[in-house]
């Protein structure tokens, strides 16, 4: 691929990974939309804009993997918090295992590529 940097990463690939990252964030704790954007922003490879995050959250919610609830905020107006549903916990477990297998396989493949260079 000619481009270098984030443009070189196909959007479908990124979308899938970010989806798993959001599930991982919501696995143990709940978070509101802007918080999810900020938390992912701490990882350069996973940073997404709010414009990407909310459609993803909406899709995960429609798929029944996450639920949302309004909660009072200590500062300012109420916030909508997201957390994994029971199905979401199951899906997260399966996706995390799949990711782990893929990661090992990819490390091996990419490592092999690196030694050839």
């Amino acid at each position: 691929m000619a481009t270098i940097g984030s443009e070189a990463v196909p959007s479908q690939f990124r979308k899938g990974v970010v989806e798993l990252a959001i599930l991982a964030l919501l696995h143990n704790d709940e978070a509101y939309g802007a918080e999810i954007v900020d938390l992912l922003g701490e990882y350069p490879g996973l940073a997404i804009s709010a414009g990407t995050a909310y459609p993803l959250l909406s899709r995960l919610k429609k798929a029944g993997l996450i639920t949302s609830v309004w909660r009072e905020s200590p500062v300012g107006p109420p916030r909508k918090y997201y957390r994994l549903s029971v199905e979401g916990e199951g899906a997260f477990g399966a996706m995390a295992r799949a990711w782990s297998d893929m990661k090992d396989a990819m490390d091996s493949l990419l490592g092999r590529g690196a030694t050839h260079e």
């Binding site: 939309g33 709010a50 459609p55 909406s58 609830v69 909660r71 009072e72 109420p78």
Partner: protein, 326 residues
């Protein structure tokens, strides 16, 4: 390729195997066309090449063909996989999810949509979609773009993208119905203004104004009023019909907003005509009308979004919290 069809030489296929493959791709094309798309010829050529490649070195029997085709999976699932993999399949991809081959697409970069069915639902989802960042979205019916008021509301920080689980989904039904009051009020104002002034209108009335505000077109009194009345009434009738047919709340709010917009335009044109007849100069009534066309639906959408959000918050914050989660 002709050898494939005779089923004798190419790849050593038996006639049964060749027939199985032909059947598979015939079925695939049927599903593909049903999914609506263009450019399947290349896809089929690639898949055929794959099948030939996989059969290379095999006996080319029916069993081999079944095995190779089974690797590709059911034709319907395969078509679905192609449609899903299209990078922008959601709205305007080469292989649109809800597309037909001829009804929708792009011409010289301008989107068009000619399929009228379900257009009211499509209108609803494009005109208010806070999840979509694009302010200008392809028109739900017709050529070109339209405004996504949801994106405007998010851009101006009036609403947040996830304020509502589903747009206007939690708005109480009586409030959804009450949105009809706005276009009905505009229609009422139009009717009163037209009735009160009808008798005093001259045979020819101003109906077109140049950019500098001077009149450059006159219509007969009757034609003008028929034209304006149709403009005012038809969208309101359609909105009432959508409400009576118990369409989803989202569709009904959008129908109210759009009919309000068009009826306000008719009202503005009538006001401009009367203003000019009374010796007024300038086109500020039309200016106000054009502003209303954008501002009134925007205000209605934002208001409904606020009411929907408030209903969700009442449910979650003050209701039974264990049942609050959805």
């Amino acid at each position: 390729m002709s050898n494939d069809e005779s089923g004798s030489v190419d790849g050593g296929l038996t006639p049964e195997a060749a027939a199985l493959i032909e059947d598979y791709f015939a079925q695939f094309l049927v599903e593909a066309v049903a999914a609506g798309a263009t450019g399947w010829e290349d896809v089929v050529a690639d898949l055929r090449a794959h099948v030939r490649d996989r059969l290379e070195g095999s006996a080319g029997t029916a069993e081999d063909a079944v095995r190779v085709l089974a690797e590709l999976g059911a034709t319907a699932a395969l078509v679905a996989a192609y449609v899903d993999a299209s990078p922008v399949a959601d709205s305007e991809g080469l292989i649109p999810k809800d597309g037909s081959r001829t009804g929708a697409g792009r011409f010289l970069g301008v989107p068009y949509e000619m399929r009228a069915w379900k257009s009211s639902e499509r209108y609803a989802s494009r005109i208010w979609n806070p999840l979509d960042r694009r302010v200008f979205v392809p028109k739900p019916l017709g050529i070109g773009w339209t405004i996504n008021f949801g994106a405007l509301a998010v851009l101006t920080h009036i609403v947040r993208p996830d304020d509502e689980d589903a747009p206007f989904g939690a708005v109480p039904p009586r409030i959804v119905l009450a949105t009809l009051a706005a276009p009905l009020a505009a229609l009422g104002a139009f009717a009163v203004l037209a009735a009160v002034n009808w008798a005093r209108l001259p045979a020819l009335v101003p109906m077109h104004w140049g950019p500098s505000g001077h009149v450059d077109g006159y219509w007969s009194r009757g034609t003008s009023l028929v034209f304006l009345s149709v403009l005012a009434v038809v969208p309101v009738v359609e909105a009432v019909w959508l409400h009576l047919r118990r369409r989803p709340p989202f569709t009904r709010v959008v129908a109210s907003a759009l009919s309000l917009s068009v009826t306000a335009l008719a009202l503005a044109l009538l006001a401009q005509m009367l203003f000019t007849l009374d010796g007024g100069t300038g086109v500020w009534p039309i200016g106000v009308g054009l502003a209303c066309i954008l501002a009134l639906p925007f205000m209605l959408f934002v208001g409904m979004s606020r009411i929907g959000r408030a209903a969700e918050q009442r449910r979650d914050l003050f209701g039974n919290s264990s049942k609050g989660r959805v």
